[in-house]
């Protein structure tokens, strides 16, 4: 397959993830949309790595996955802490820094 196809697919996934971040009113779905964006970038990395004949694309994919795992752990802990305070996951419920 030409590399252009992989890049277009990657861009499409990234656009879907961005749309999710802007359109959804649920913190969990927001985090899921961020995961979609990270995976879109991973696909582009692996495709370029294959194109250039190096392993670097796959290596950086592992690092992106690690960062995604750390982000999911901290993000979900924040979501749990926020939900305890407001009984809501709507981002618009959290507008004050202190309560």
């Amino acid at each position: 397959m030409p590399i252009g196809h992989y890049l277009v697919l990657s861009g499409l996934l990234f656009a879907i993830g961005t749309a999710g971040v802007f359109l959804r009113k649920n913190l969990i779905t927001l985090l899921l949309s961020i995961e979609i964006m990270l995976n879109a970038v991973n696909l582009a990395f692996v495709a370029f790595g294959r194109q250039l004949g190096t392993n670097d694309g796959q290596i950086i994919t592992f690092f992106v996955m690690t960062v995604a795992a750390a982000e999911a752990a901290v993000g979900l802990a924040l979501v749990i802490a926020l939900f305890r305070h407001r009984e809501s996951l709507n981002p618009e419920a959290f507008t004050s820094l202190k309560w």
Binding site: V8, E35, R84
Partner: protein, 175 residues
């Protein structure tokens, strides 16, 4: 080659449909499950790109561990569905002015991207034509533990920090 294209398009379709379902479902549990579907499509694409180890890691770490963490949180919180009335009242798609400006910007961006792609040489070259496949796990491990040693060690600090952060943040405050 024809079967290659068929596999690419079916995996791509699974991935994109899964991602669209994530964004369109109102129940977060279905969103998480659709994202797992999407990850399986991505894993297939990684196999097509001769990166089988990344594909396996994608399934085990992403679909197996991270998504279970999400699912666990969703079920722990007993998350309410997004309220339909709330959706109608305050959703960005129901603000006509923002919708128009956003649509113009999106069309401009798509046109620019299409123009840039059409001017970029080498996009039609097959992805694996120039170099033979390098998919050996041993080689990956060698590179990871020599050239990328520093980044690997820093990752361990990141994981420790996120672990401590998650424990501190999610803990119940004792009054």
């Amino acid at each position: 080659m024809a079967s290659d294209a068929l596999l690419f398009y079916s995996f791509a379709a699974v991935t994109v449909i899964g991602a669209l379902l994530v964004v369109s479902q109102k129940n977060p549990v279905y969103s998480v499950l659709s994202l797992i579907l999407s990850f399986f499509g991505l894993a297939g694409l990684y196999v097509l790109l001769e990166a089988p180890f990344v594909a396996v890691v994608q399934i085990i770490i992403y679909a197996g561990a991270i998504m279970v963490l999400f699912l666990f949180t969703v079920m722990l919180l007993n998350v309410p569905r997004e309220d339909a009335a709330e959706w109608d009242r305050s959703h960005p798609l129901y603000r006509p002015m923002a919708l128009r400006i956003g649509a113009v910007l999106a069309v401009l961006l798509a046109l620019e991207l299409g123009w840039a792609l059409s001017r970029t040489p080498g996009l039609g070259v097959g992805v694996g034509d120039a170099h033979p496949a390098q998919s050996s796990v041993a080689e990956l491990g060698r590179v990871l533990f020599t050239d990328y040693m520093f980044a690997f060690e820093v990752t361990s600090i990141l994981i420790i920090a996120s672990m401590v952060g998650a424990v501190v943040l999610a803990r119940k405050r004792e009054e």
